[in-house]
Subunit: 381 residues, 2 copies
């Protein structure tokens, strides 16, 4: 497979714009220099708008997981409880992290089904220092009710941690309006930067509640905040300089489009995928209710009956279009299409066309061209 000719339609790492890729080929600079500080400061400022927050902001070198880790390790000691809400793989990761440092109180729903707010409230009644949830559960394509859970968290005086990794900048996400104390994203999602950076916003309440020392040495938000507030702005340990170049370029690119406009466009792209799925008799995977919506950044669909993952995704890959499968227990049962960042209408059309070709080859295409037509209609093509 020639990666230069491949269309990457997975929910992260996402396609990166050439100008962002090119930004990474600038020479190295000292990470303690004013040059680096200016880049970091520019990113921190733009990210505040991207997150819709006045909270302070750090960028950590690592996957999005290092941001989730840092949030929990900063707050939760051996004897502290953290309510961890899950209805997919990444929610369960919060439970694992919570168990690593303290006492996790899991509130589980079946993967892809809505969170039960009553269960969350019941868990909180026993007292907890924090509540952690995933806003956009990438593994199942479902948006969870951050606003409602935030209210419950604060009613019970718990710090509210939200994994917004595959959400912020793609779905509606209002860090301050929803009172999110620690919001996290990863560079390889709606920011459309290569993977390797976690971005974390930290509210004054979260900072006040931090343990004296984080349970993790590397994933230490206090250390990151302290360094970020120096002049020039720094990171406590050597940062991935080229990814900061890319982040700055991508943020300016997103700002040129408009952060709101990008979300609107992302919503339209996801709507077009859902329309195509419907036209092709492919069922959407997640269950939604009044508090839970289909994701705009990743659409999870059930594998059509009588077709294997290998035939469907393998067949699409042979045509140069890469989509994701299901993770863990959903392996072979679903497939997922990402629509974040700089994904375009023509990327969608190529993807749906390819899906149709593969379905036709397997004798599973109900109506030729119906998917493309439905998607095109939503996209105004």
């Amino acid at each position: 497979m020639d990666i230069e000719e491949t269309l990457l339609m997975i929910p992260g790492p996402v396609k990166v714009a050439p100008r962002v890729l090119r930004a990474m080929s600038r020479p190295m600079i000292s990470h303690r220099s004013g040059d680096f500080g200016a880049i970091y400061e520019d990113c921190r400022n733009l990210l505040k708008d991207f997150f819709e927050t006045n909270n302070d902001m750090v960028v950590m070198t690592g996957s999005g997981t290092v941001g989730m880790d840092a949030a929990v390790a900063g707050l939760i000691g051996r004897e502290d409880k953290i309510v961890t809400i899950s209805n997919g793989k990444f929610g369960e990761r919060f439970t694992e992290i919570g168990e690593r440092y303290g006492k996790a109180v899991p509130v589980k729903s079946e993967w892809g089904t809505p969170i039960d707010l009553d269960k969350v409230e019941a868990a909180l009644e026993d007292g907890a220092k924090a509540v952690a949830m995933v806003h956009n559960e990438t593994s199942v394509g479902l948006i969870n009710p951050a606003n409602e859970i935030g209210k419950l968290a604060h009613k019970h005086d718990a710090v509210f941690i939200v994994d917004g990794i595959s959400s912020i900048g793609g779905n509606e996400f209002h860090t301050d309006a929803w009172d999110v104390d620690i919001a996290i994203t990863g560079s390889q999602k709606a920011l459309a930067v290569p993977p390797g950076l976690a971005v974390v916003s930290v509210s004054p309440l979260a900072e006040e509640r931090f343990q004296d020392k984080s349970a993790s040495y590397y994933a230490d938000l206090k250390a990151h905040l302290k360094s970020a507030r120096k002049s020039p702005a720094q990171t406590p340990y050597t940062p991935a300089v080229p990814l900061f170049y890319a982040l700055q370029e991508a943020l300016h690119m997103a700002k040129e489009e408009g952060f709101e406009a990008r979300k609107t466009r992302t919503a339209k792209l996801a709507e077009s995928v859902r329309a195509a799925a419907k036209a092709l008799d492919i069922e959407l995977f997640p269950q939604v209710n009044e508090y839970s919506q289909y994701s705009n950044t990743v659409t999870a669909m059930k594998m059509p009956a009588g077709i294997t993952d290998d035939k469907l995704r393998g067949g699409m890959k042979k045509q140069g279009v890469v989509v994701s499968g299901g993770q863990e227990k959903l392996k072979g049962k679903i497939f997922r299409i990402g629509t974040m960042g700089v994904c375009s209408a023509s990327d969608i059309i190529r993807t749906i066309q390819t899906l149709e070709l593969v379905l036709a080859k397997e004798g599973k295409l109900s109506s030729r061209g119906a998917g493309v037509e439905a998607a095109g209609k939503v996209l105004g093509l």
Copy 2:
């Protein structure tokens, strides 16, 4: 300052070759794909030669510190002791990490002075699960005796952890011959890759002694080993894909030169810097003895009397040559020149010429051209 015209002579991040920078601008791929797995596997194999080891090898997304963190967090629980040897900033970091997870037993020497092997042995007599040391103390330009300390560690049945971040691939470093259980490097040093990756080798003994669960969620070597051994090879969390492209390219570039040849060249470059310093009456900072040598990857020199850091480094920077200052208590007292990776003889000459210009301007140049001549002689120019 135009970064495209600047010569970066600090001990990391180091100058990166254009072909390595360009490798980063390849499009993104899925980190669970065979394409990524093949890159990771190729890197893991080449890194074994680079480390001179048969031990298994992982690459973590993060600074070198995440590798140090992972080593300690993997082994040291609340009640475990770790002997942490320090004679500079990075040795002290091991003490901080050890204290974060368990009981650190620091064995300290003054910054830049040799380690006292008797003190190390005495500390080990009380029993410790591990010994951690820095091979090349970047903050002071001194090589510490890994071979000797490794023998002491194993005599006392302790796991031997070595921070080889600014050493491996630059100085002599023999992971297996020295019985190093966990050896760590960072991408931005002798590998001449941008920062953002930690490379860690893990011996069977270290693996056997790992705690059931690492004290850190993100910095978890067991999780990294498990994923690396999958087919295709993976990382537990999304890796910084472009840095893996760069790592692969840089490893092939180093292999073309020859790993031994690169070390020999690095030694020659450092020797030329020391010769220039001597010719310019600039004193080397570290104290050496039979067990400790001047580093070949970074030369630390005392600030000449009557000249400030601002005048010296600031003056050089104005001429487009960036060298490092002292860290923490050594701020203003020393300056440091890195000679790792793809640093060339002409880079040295430009650096020494610029140093002479600045010294002359400050009226501190004893003999015009003496530094360049001395360096040139060593370099065979």
